[in-house]
């Protein structure tokens, strides 16, 4: 069973996405990447990201991840900021630590692709 199923699947993502998106919009390190004109489209992207991070159904490939982040000049600091907000969101929702660790593991697995290393 994936961690996505263990924490409640789509309902868990829906519970997390507003909290997560509010956190990144309030985080000066990364807010500018997320503060776009079309908040609905950005919100849908956050949902897709969380579903992927929770180990839920997605079809993103390493190549997609590279292409999507290629021109953003992302650094380790940006990646860590997103990861911190992700952990903060999960803690706020009282997700057990062992699942948080699993989710962080999934997020770390795409780090090199996101940073185009």
């Amino acid at each position: 069973m994936s961690v996505y199923e263990k924490i409640g699947g789509d309902a868990a993502v829906n519970a997390a996405v507003d909290i997560f998106y509010r956190k990144v919009l309030a985080d000066d390190r990364i807010a500018h990447f997320f503060d776009t004109v079309d908040m609905d489209a950005q919100h849908a992207k956050q949902k897709a990201f969380l579903t992927m991070a929770f180990g839920g159904p997605n079809h993103y490939t390493g190549k997609d991840m590279r292409a999507a982040h290629k021109h953003m000049n992302l650094t380790e600091e940006h990646f860590n900021a997103v990861a911190e907000n992700l952990v903060g969101t999960l803690q706020e929702l009282s997700v057990p630590q062992q699942y948080i660790d699993e989710i962080v593991g999934i997020a770390l697995s795409v780090k090199d692709d996101v940073l185009n290393k």
């Binding site: 789509d10 908040m39 489209a41 579903t51």
Partner: protein, 322 residues
């Protein structure tokens, strides 16, 4: 074998294939990204047939009401006819049945037109010269006409045509309606407080939303904030107050940057007023209408104040070239 019709072509679905799969297999250019029903890049609209519920997972009530489906999840058991969501819909003739000035700058048009619509959506009105502009709908179907509020600009080509040349009894073309800024009512939504925020003629679609909500028996409080620079620009205040006097759940807030404060009129900045009056918007459904800059800023403010993204409905007015 299930067949879907799309842009004058028939697509035969293979076993287990989604609508997006078959479109791409035939080489049709169609936007898509995650292929898992999340990113909503591949939205498509059902023109004829029944939208499969599984293909509407995660869509808003408004999107569902308009027959939108996610093509990547759409595996229809029966034949369907589909169209692109960006398509503006049919163009129909509309007879002008009334034309009245609501203020020195705002003209009210009432049109007889044979189309389905929801208060808060918008239509594109056009004339014989091919000029056209979008206007929101302030009326509901029960009233029997489409009502639009036209801000008339001194050098506005189309608004000057409507103000100076158009007469009652003449015919305009109407395309649409489009837009998702309308009221829907599921069982749990009927109790939910509503906050409607409109600037200038942004109050027009909100009148449509209020009328729809009241007609549907909405039980939660409905707060409407009508804002403008000058108090004199609050042209729909009398109509709002008349509605509020017969609907106890409707509360009207008028905010102007300049003017004389009174018990009915707040003088100040609308962003600060909303922040101070509703420090938390958790559980509140929000409707925002007005200029793009207002909608953008207010949407972010409302979201950060706790409103859920799925429950912020917005219609931003974009200025056409004069």
């Amino acid at each position: 074998m299930t067949v879907v019709q799309f842009e004058e072509r028939a697509y035969e679905l293979a076993d287990g294939e989604s609508v997006l799969d078959v479109l791409l297999r035939y080489g049709t250019d169609f936007p898509h990204s995650c292929r898992a029903g999340l990113c909503q890049s591949c939205l498509i609209q059902v023109a004829q047939g029944e939208a499969p519920a599984a293909a509407q997972a995660g869509l808003s009530e408004q999107q569902k009401a308009m027959g939108y489906v996610l093509s990547c999840l759409c595996k229809p058991p029966q034949d369907l006819s589909l169209r692109r969501v960006s398509q503006a819909g049919l163009t129909r003739p509309a007879c002008v049945i009334a034309k009245d000035w609501l203020s020195p700058e705002v003209l009210r048009l009432r049109l007889m037109v044979d189309c389905e619509f929801r208060g808060g959506q918008y239509v594109t009105l056009g004339n014989q010269d091919g000029l056209g502009r979008c206007y929101s709908i302030a009326s509901i179907p029960e009233e029997g006409f489409v009502e639009c509020h036209v801000r008339v600009y001194p050098d506005g080509q189309f608004s000057q045509f409507l103000a100076q040349q158009l007469s009652v009894g003449e015919v305009l073309s109407v395309r649409g309606p489009l837009g998702t800024c309308f009221y829907t009512c599921s069982a749990e939504q009927a109790e939910q407080p509503l906050l409607l925020l409109g600037v200038g003629t942004g109050i027009a679609p909100l009148l449509g939303v209020i009328k729809t909500a009241l007609a549907a028996g909405h039980r939660g409080d409905i707060h409407v904030v009508f804002a403008a620079r000058q108090a004199s620009e609050l042209y729909a205040l009398a109509e709002l107050e008349a509605m509020a006097s017969s609907a106890a759940s409707l509360k009207v807030h008028a905010v102007a940057l300049q003017g004389e404060a009174s018990p009915e009129l707040q003088i100040g900045d609308v962003y600060e007023y909303v922040q101070a009056t509703w420090p938390s918007l958790k559980g509140v459904r929000v409707f925002l209408c007005g200029a793009e800059s207002f909608v953008r800023k207010m949407k972010k403010q409302c979201f950060l104040a706790g409103a859920s993204m799925r429950e912020i409905h917005a219609d931003a007015f974009v200025m056409a070239g004069a």
